[in-house]
């Protein structure tokens, strides 16, 4: 009988921590990992809501989590490919040195 709210709070905290990591870290890979953490928190929320209906079970939330994980995997692959090519060019993966969008 865990109150739904606890799951939501947990999810919120994890999301915030992930957000902090995205904004604060300089290493591109760590930033990416924090993004994964954020997506995880979202997954928890989805499943928590899916379990919170009284008129029977609705598995839409669980299914959606499947898709989220799929997309996360795809995104990780492509993102890491980009990071690799970027790192090859610059010899570092410092987020602060990616200034190519500057005028």
């Amino acid at each position: 009988m865990i109150p739904t709210a606890w799951f939501l709070i947990l999810s919120g905290i994890l999301f915030s921590i992930g957000l902090t990591g995205v904004l604060m870290r300089r290493n591109v890979l760590v930033i990416f990992m924090c993004v994964e953490l954020m997506m995880n928190a979202v997954n928890i929320t989805f499943v928590a809501f899916a379990r919170s209906f009284t008129k029977g079970i609705n598995f839409a939330g669980d299914n959606f989590v499947v898709f989220v994980v799929t997309v996360a995997a795809a995104e990780a692959a492509v993102g890491l490919a980009i990071i690799v090519s970027l790192a090859t060019k610059q010899s570092s993966v410092d987020a602060d040195s990616i200034g190519m969008l500057k005028d």
């Binding site: 957000l19 904004l23 300089r26 602060d96 969008l101």
Partner: protein, 787 residues
């Protein structure tokens, strides 16, 4: 001769001078253009002379017709001849039509005769005065045009055409004052190119009031003129009928009178709009004689006389006229006593005498005012023409002396440097030029001696004297003229001035009478100051002054050039009497004017005496002796009627009039006597002592009561400060500031916003996160999340 005949020739009087002006204009443009006199061929010289002849002929014709009309009018019972429609100026439908019509009533008749007479004298005189002018033909184009304008002004029968004539006269004055527009230096006086603008602008200020007055008359006439076309309602007779029937409110009458009088103030140089008249002396002297003594400035007097049915119904307006008149009279006479320039004395005298005419109108002395106008035209015209003769001869003398200086300087240089002709010529030229410059511009601006400081002005009375010997005709004519101005007994001026003062005393205005009497004293003083110092003094000052000035200039130049042991006497010395060839003395010939300059003077001198006899007082010499009163009465009948009904008419009595005559005589002779003592006997000493004794009064008078300076301060400096504020404060600061400010603010904001785009992805992530927080907050607060 019937009224019908008169009507048919009436229109000729103004038109003939206009036609002459156009013919002269054609001749000037076709044959003469802007060539110098020395470049003209014989044929062109003939054309040039022809313009003068055409002008004179035209004026003679006008004068003849005017005299015919005058005689007719005097002999007939009708007092008004009018031609209502000669042509239609703006034929634009039935109602909006401006018709041009002329009329002839006693006042008009007198004015036309005076105008054409003086104009004729000036035309004849100018053939001599302007003989060597490059712009001779231009002069004879403008002069008849002015005559036409003035005749239009006095002969028209409609207020609208009066305004047209008013403006045309102003235009002619502008053209004629600025005749020597190319002059660059005039011994510290205002240049003609500025003086004519000043005249026009100050006139314009008066014309503003005049225009408003005419417009107001139009508005007044609108409800009263059924059946009469719009602009015919501005005919004199229609307007006067409305006023005579008492259909106009008293306050309106006052205001309309004041507005119309403003025009008179501007045109006739009354205080405070008098400032243009002395500067108008920058024009040629015949112009001053015609316009600024006899004709244009009397247009204001004519106006007030013409609107007598209106103005007589407002006591305050008439009082205002009187006050301004007497103030002006007093002002002019005080300033005239200390002026050094001969034309300035005459200018302020004109201002003063115009003031007399106005204050005569102000004490209900209608006929006295116009009588004085007539006599003043004669003697002031004479005085101005005589001044012209004197100035002309001075200028010619000085020019001749220049040539002598040049000649002698060359001889001296050849003797001093026989081996070096080039250096000799150069030195001679330099010395001559130095002398010339000294005479024109003065030698040393810091010198104590006024002559060395300012140069020799041909119009300066300090350097004139003893001209009786050289030009006796001029001298005697001028004396007669001055006597008339001073009011010496038995001259025309005496009778007319006394009539004015008598009217003032009759009406009980004792303050006005006393101030007028004092001004008469000053008038007598300064007019004979001029006569004595210029014509009848012992010292012939011009040669010595010229010599001194030329020597000072040459000495200074010699020091610059390094010529050692230079004695200017070796070059030139001018003397008035016998010359000594061995001492390089040159006798100065004062140029006597030719017959074409002397004849008008003689005629006008005669009229200065004779013209007074048409206005002898009835009281003393018997009823009906006063011709001019009898003649002019019909014009002023409306006013006289009103005066009777208001009980203002007073009858003069024999003893009173006699006493006043004697007082006037005594006062004028006193003035003459003081001038005699100061300027004939003790010219070297007394004037200076008087100047020192009078202290600040002298300077106030000399500087024309500082009117120009005050006007400059208030209107020009004040105006410039205001306009500068408008420019800097409003245009530059506010308007440009707003426009520039918009750009500046945009640039500022955009430069600030530009910094958002850093190019660093992590910053963009931060912005995304920030946006997320903000959007969630807004969403929750506005829409709300309910689950």
């Amino acid at each position: 001769m019937t009224a019908k005949d008169v009507e048919s020739i009436l229109w000729l009087v103004p038109i003939i001078p206009l036609v002459a002006s156009f013919i002269n204009a054609f001749i000037s443009l076709a044959f003469l253009a802007s060539r110098k006199k020395s470049d003209l061929t014989a044929g062109q010289l003939f054309a040039r002379g022809l313009t003068g002849v055409i002008g004179i002929t035209a004026i003679i014709s006008s004068l003849t017709i005017s005299i015919i009309l005058l005689v007719f009018l005097q002999g007939s019972n009708e007092h008004l001849v009018s031609v209502k429609e000669i042509f239609i100026w703006i034929p634009s439908g039935d109602d909006f039509q401006i018709k041009f019509g002329l009329m002839l009533d006693p006042l008009t008749s007198v004015m036309t005769v005076v105008v054409t007479t003086i104009s004729l004298m000036v035309h004849i005189f100018s053939t001599g005065y302007m003989k060597n002018e490059d712009g001779f033909h231009r002069f004879y184009t403008y002069l008849p045009f002015f005559t036409f304008s003035m005749l239009l002004l006095v002969m028209c029968n409609n207020f609208l055409w009066l305004y047209v004539g008013w403006e045309l006269v102003g235009l002619s004055s502008y053209l004629l004052i600025g005749f020597w527009f190319a002059k660059k230096y005039d011994w510290g006086r205002m240049l003609p190119s500025a003086a004519n603008v000043k005249a026009f602008v100050v006139n314009r200020i008066g014309d503003f009031g005049f225009g408003l007055g005419v417009m107001w008359l139009f508005v007044i006439m609108l409800p009263h003129g059924e059946g009469i076309p719009l602009f015919d309602r501005l005919n004199y007779e229609n307007v006067f009928k409305v006023f005579e029937e008492g259909l106009v409110d008293g306050k309106v009458v006052f205001l309309v009178s004041i507005l119309l009088f403003m025009g008179a103030m501007g045109k006739s140089a009354q205080m405070p709009l008098h400032v243009w008249l002395p500067d108008a002396m920058a024009g040629p002297t015949p112009v001053s004689a015609l316009i600024h003594a006899a004709t244009m400035v009397t247009a204001g007097v004519y106006l007030v006389g013409r609107i007598n049915p209106i103005i007589v119904r407002s006591e305050e307006a008439i009082a205002a006229v009187a006050v301004i008149g007497i103030l002006t009279a007093f002002f002019g006479s005080t300033v005239g006593t200390t002026q050094k320039d001969i034309k300035a004395v005459m200018a302020y005298s004109t201002v003063s005498q115009l003031g007399y005419m106005f204050f005569a109108l102000g004490v209900y002395g209608w006929i006295a005012a116009f009588f004085h106008l007539m006599t003043h035209a004669f003697f002031k015209g004479l005085l101005f023409l005589g001044c012209g003769a004197v100035i002309h001869s001075n200028e010619d003398t000085i020019k001749e002396m220049f040539e002598e200086i040049h000649h002698n300087a060359e001889e001296w240089a050849k003797k001093k440097y026989p081996n070096d002709p080039e250096k000799a010529a150069e030195y001679a030229f330099e010395l001559f030029e130095a002398a010339e410059n000294a005479i024109e511009y003065g030698v040393d601006p810091k010198s104590d001696d006024r002559l060395l400081r300012e140069g020799l002005d041909p119009q300066d009375m300090d350097y004139m004297g003893n001209y009786f010997k050289q030009m006796p005709v001029v001298a005697i004519s001028m004396t007669f003229g001055a006597a008339a101005l001073a009011g010496v007994p038995l001259t025309a001026g005496f009778w007319s001035k006394d009539e004015i003062l008598g009217t003032a005393a009759l009406q009980g205005q004792w303050w006005i009478y006393l101030i007028g009497l004092f001004s008469a004293l000053l008038t007598a003083f300064y007019s004979f100051r001029m006569i004595f110092s210029v014509f009848w003094s012992d010292s012939y000052r011009l040669p010595k002054a010229l010599t001194r000035l030329a020597h000072a200039g040459m000495q200074k130049k010699a020091k610059e050039l390094g010529i050692q042991y230079f004695n200017p006497i070796e070059i030139i010395e001018f003397v008035g009497g016998n010359a000594d060839k061995n001492r390089k003395q040159v006798k100065v010939h004062v140029h006597k004017p030719g017959w074409n300059m002397q004849a008008p003077l003689v005629f006008l001198a005669f009229m200065s005496i004779a013209a007074g006899y048409v206005g002898l007082p009835n009281v003393i010499f018997g009823n009906g002796v006063n011709q001019i009163e009898k003649f002019l009465e019909p014009t002023f009948e409306p006013a006289l009627k009103v005066m009777e009904s208001n009980d203002i008419t007073k009858q003069p009595d024999f003893t009173g009039t006699l006493i006043l005559l004697l007082v006037s005589a005594v006062v004028s002779l006193t003035g003459v006597g003081i001038a005699y003592v100061m300027y004939h006997k003790n010219r070297e000493t007394l004037p200076e002592r008087a100047m020192r004794l009078s202290g600040p009064l002298y300077y106030i008078s000399r500087n024309k009561w500082y009117f120009d300076e005050v006007y400059n301060l208030i209107f020009i400096q004040g105006g410039m400060a205001f306009f500068r504020f408008l420019w800097r404060g409003i245009d530059v600061f506010i308007i440009d500031g707003i426009v520039n400010g918009v750009g500046y603010v945009t640039r500022f904001i955009s430069q600030g916003l530009r910094k958002v785009q850093t190019g660093f992805v992590t910053n963009y992530a931060l912005y995304i996160a920030l946006g997320l927080v903000v959007v969630v907050a807004i969403f929750y607060l506005t829409v709300g999340v309910k689950f």
